[in-house]
Assembly symmetry: D2
Homo-oligomer: 301 residues x 4
Amino acid sequence: MTIARIGFIGLGTMGGPMAANLLRKGFELSVYDVVPAAVERAVGQGARAASCPADAARGVDALITMLPDGPVVRDALFGPDGAAAALERGTLVIEMSTIAPSQSDALRRDLEAAGLRMLDAPVGRTPRHAEAGTLLVMAGGTEADVAEATPLFEAMADTIHHIGPAGHGIRLKVVNNCMAMVGMVMTAEALTLAAKAGLDRDTAVRVMSGTAAGRGQLIMNYPNKVLAGDITPDFPLRMGLKDISLALQFGAEMASPLPLAAAARELFALAPAWGREGQDCTAMLLLMEDLARVGRAPAER
Amino acid sequence: MTIARIGFIGLGTMGGPMAANLLRKGFELSVYDVVPAAVERAVGQGARAASCPADAARGVDALITMLPDGPVVRDALFGPDGAAAALERGTLVIEMSTIAPSQSDALRRDLEAAGLRMLDAPVGRTPRHAEAGTLLVMAGGTEADVAEATPLFEAMADTIHHIGPAGHGIRLKVVNNCMAMVGMVMTAEALTLAAKAGLDRDTAVRVMSGTAAGRGQLIMNYPNKVLAGDITPDFPLRMGLKDISLALQFGAEMASPLPLAAAARELFALAPAWGREGQDCTAMLLLMEDLARVGRAPAER
Amino acid sequence: MTIARIGFIGLGTMGGPMAANLLRKGFELSVYDVVPAAVERAVGQGARAASCPADAARGVDALITMLPDGPVVRDALFGPDGAAAALERGTLVIEMSTIAPSQSDALRRDLEAAGLRMLDAPVGRTPRHAEAGTLLVMAGGTEADVAEATPLFEAMADTIHHIGPAGHGIRLKVVNNCMAMVGMVMTAEALTLAAKAGLDRDTAVRVMSGTAAGRGQLIMNYPNKVLAGDITPDFPLRMGLKDISLALQFGAEMASPLPLAAAARELFALAPAWGREGQDCTAMLLLMEDLARVGRAPAER
Amino acid sequence: MTIARIGFIGLGTMGGPMAANLLRKGFELSVYDVVPAAVERAVGQGARAASCPADAARGVDALITMLPDGPVVRDALFGPDGAAAALERGTLVIEMSTIAPSQSDALRRDLEAAGLRMLDAPVGRTPRHAEAGTLLVMAGGTEADVAEATPLFEAMADTIHHIGPAGHGIRLKVVNNCMAMVGMVMTAEALTLAAKAGLDRDTAVRVMSGTAAGRGQLIMNYPNKVLAGDITPDFPLRMGLKDISLALQFGAEMASPLPLAAAARELFALAPAWGREGQDCTAMLLLMEDLARVGRAPAER
Ligand SMILES: NC(=O)c1ccc[n+]([C@@H]2O[C@H](COP(=O)([O-])OP(=O)(O)OC[C@H]3O[C@@H](n4cnc5c(N)ncnc54)[C@H](O)[C@@H]3O)[C@@H](O)[C@H]2O)c1
Ligand SMILES: NC(=O)c1ccc[n+]([C@@H]2O[C@H](COP(=O)([O-])OP(=O)(O)OC[C@H]3O[C@@H](n4cnc5c(N)ncnc54)[C@H](O)[C@@H]3O)[C@@H](O)[C@H]2O)c1
Ligand SMILES: NC(=O)c1ccc[n+]([C@@H]2O[C@H](COP(=O)([O-])OP(=O)(O)OC[C@H]3O[C@@H](n4cnc5c(N)ncnc54)[C@H](O)[C@@H]3O)[C@@H](O)[C@H]2O)c1
Ligand SMILES: NC(=O)c1ccc[n+]([C@@H]2O[C@H](COP(=O)([O-])OP(=O)(O)OC[C@H]3O[C@@H](n4cnc5c(N)ncnc54)[C@H](O)[C@@H]3O)[C@@H](O)[C@H]2O)c1
């Protein structure tokens, strides 16, 4: 089925430009937002104003939601004048907000019970990319549903990943953003220590931009070591413990807080208890899996 | 002054191949290690065996130490039969081990008191790079001293950074390795959560290798935001808090531990107390500096 | 007003015995729970079975809710057949569940908009205490409302605290339980380290039960130091940093994880940046307030 | 053997008053400290001034060290003019400083190699207690050695614990102080959250001083639950996770940092992975032992 008419709910920082890009590519949009000015802007770009979610949903081939959080999405779909009841049976709902996976799953369950289909298709990147139509989409759903939505995604994004079955898009989005946000703090604590140690910031940034510190272990060491099944030590966990311990001592001397390094050290310290101290530092992944009991059935507990 | 004869103490996993590369480039080496087999191997490559640190130091133009930790370096330099007393006044000691900055500083102080010079020049990368002569050197010291040592560095490394004055090499090394080791855990906790969420690992790795999660905030967002003096929000700290909170809730549902994300969240949570919740996530650096009071004189406390 | 007839919603592990105690003290109860067996048990003890929350609310002088979480309480009060609409104007709703303060506040707002009154009165202790009628109540609300509810509390609890105005009961409950749960982990990490160090557990428990480690800083050192305005050092933050650093080093040697101590150390390490390293360890409270900017108006930021 | 003459090295904040109490009880002391004024004060109280550690050690029945850290103790015993060489064979060295267990062990090894005996007997409490002679001693060593030192301990302390064999005194001291220092932060983060939530501090302190939050899980719930072998749930780990999660959400709303609670939550979150979510919260100890592999031989790894 080819999608021509789209209901779009949520015209904020992200949804506004996303809707504009869909309009630019020739899709017909009926749009709704609780903020009238947001609706008017879209109308100025060629959209039809809807008076409520249900109104936005009437007669469309697909519905997109781009809202702040899960309860708001639920309200737009199933609240008073909600969209779900106004959609034709079989219509595709493309949920693009960043919400809890459990809330996404519950929405899908309820949409399917109402004879509808849902894709979870959250986006990565920033408002600037939303405007440029260069977002990154992580879609979870069937091949067919993702294929059906792809022309829409292409109007808004330049990178489209079909992550896996239903729910996998939002799951990877949550994992990805978690790691990205931890990276914000990791970088901040390192540069703060550098500053307190009297190091020149530009030099520190330039040098660390060329090492695994700045370039990321996921790209630098994981692929050819633990992810390739090789945990022979390039740099063993034992030496990782030594180095992170030196840093914590140095941080204490400089009165520079290292909350992430402190938490990380306790995991390096656990390596010998699991017989892993001589393995490559990337075997930290296996240690974490040990602790989380990845792949263990309850019976093995 | 051109260095031709080098004393080299510490022929282990790193020091062994480093010495071999110096020999290959035509330097004369007198070598010492507590393990006789390590000395013999170097002798087989053309080195002269020394019977103690002092013996290795006699008549050389420069001394390199590549030892496990600070107390061992101190012992090799100032212990019984230590190298320092045997070096000619003015000789350059190139300390390449990873040791505590405070220990490095104390060694320099004592070497200078003995009329000697010291460079702190720890190395990055792995034994494989030591063998290939492609290490990374972070040198701290005067321009002249670094210039004098550069031919030696070039025999062992393909990336040579003069970080700054004395002590700055080891300081950046410690900061760099700290961040690299935190990255080991950050990556492990994200991939473990992905696994417990049932995501396909290859897909997760592939997708996140293209985002700031995998590619590193130091390279992706810091340079054009906070480091460029721009903290207008591409993605505000407020939304970072939202996303990392979603991840922690998801981690708890999956029984997947997120020790770093948990520690990081408490910093995002502090942003409003410092009036920073609407600033770009890279302003996490400024928040960390607030907490650590970077640039505050005691009087301002 | 004297309360005689009570609607009681939520007859689980806690609510069941609480209702039983109210019945035992002569109150008339109309009870509702989604689990019919729970209702039947209460009926066997003298309660009237209600068919829905609204039914439980009809004709009562006060309504008690003791439910799993905030959304469930909302549903019981404002969902289909919800209790709120069935209560007479002015009736007191006594919300005793442990829920998010923001959810409690929102419930109060909506109940007051409906002409009703609400007390937040969560309970401490365990099911055993619920059965024995020896719970601890933390009530938030007006003097008059608390006084009105006190006879009910006395049927269920032997310790009744009027914490403060509306919302303060649930707030302190959340703070209290947080600290209690952190204490679970703090104790576990200390005893695990003791075990890995080969110490006799009984001896460790016996000795530490007599020190501030086991007896709690809130009771042992805070009252006569920082809470009394005295931060002259009995034991300065500087020495606290020394001791916790020794412990972390020891934990790493024993491969015993100390996640709380690791997080705590980073705060001790910050003391000098705030000019507090020479102050008593209980000045950790002031340091935490510095970081959280307690008492700072936005203008001062 | 009865000890009459004592060498005492280290007359600081603690050692000064400890020496004074020994003098008061009639022991003969020869004392040494690098600070002459400290020595003079002791001389004014009846001690004999020694010119170096060796001088303090000559002719004594026992030697006490009360020094800042392990390297200083080593220096006093084995450095130039060190005490060890001057002690008669068989003399008891009572090491009372707080130092790393590994350093304590190494000192014992070297003292025994020199034909001497050592007790590790660090102290708890504060300078005030040192003055009052009401310290707490945690002694590690043989029954005979502890018995021999007991009259000395009784001059300085009112609580004397023989913890176990050699090394166990300093080990428990380190564990104990770690937990005490974590308690400093735990209390601070709870009271800071209370403050930011607008709660009255006195009320919060008063109420929590009566619950397990303030009174300590080691005393309140551990003894009759996990330590008694009973992990049937008074309050299951599942509900602990709920409550600590509520607190973290509340902390984020209040912009109040909860670094310890954040770290603790990740352990509660792990409970289901280890089949423990339905067990009593005190089973956190068993979970921590699972993670640290207490009691596992390497073969079982
Ligand atoms: N901003 C980013 O950089 C970014 C990046 C990736 C993903 N996201 C996610 O995208 C989603 C939207 O983010 P945003 O930045 O556009 O947020 P926003 O707050 O700017 O926009 C949300 C829009 O939803 C509207 N809205 C709220 N309640 C509504 C209701 N009941 N009915 C209809 N409209 C309603 C608001 O008026 C607003 O226009 C969020 O889930 C966010 O996490 C944001
Ligand atoms: N291995 C790596 O990947 C790596 C990478 C970068 C930096 N480093 C750092 O380089 C330094 C050396 O590391 P390594 O991996 O070669 O360690 P190693 O343990 O393999 O080698 C140390 C060598 O020093 C010798 N030695 C010990 N005590 C001595 C003494 N008193 N006198 C003389 N020789 C003595 C040992 O016999 C050994 O040969 C360390 O500080 C380490 O942190 C290592
Ligand atoms: N268990 C404890 O030790 C303890 C201690 C202090 C506070 N609390 C708090 O008390 C509250 C109740 O805890 P509990 O242990 O009794 O829980 P529980 O799960 O045993 O009981 C909850 C009861 O609510 C009923 N219920 C659920 N949804 C309902 C609905 N929509 N309408 C009517 N009834 C519904 C359930 O059937 C159940 O009987 C929770 O907020 C808990 O955090 C518990
Ligand atoms: N202060 C407390 O509340 C407390 C409580 C329990 C345990 N402790 C522990 O007791 C020990 C002593 O603590 P303190 O508070 O008395 O410290 P302090 O710094 O006040 O005293 C140490 C003394 O050792 C002397 N000293 C230093 N180097 C010396 C050397 N080479 N030779 C001889 N004397 C030397 C110093 O001059 C000083 O008088 C430490 O290990 C500390 O951790 C302290």
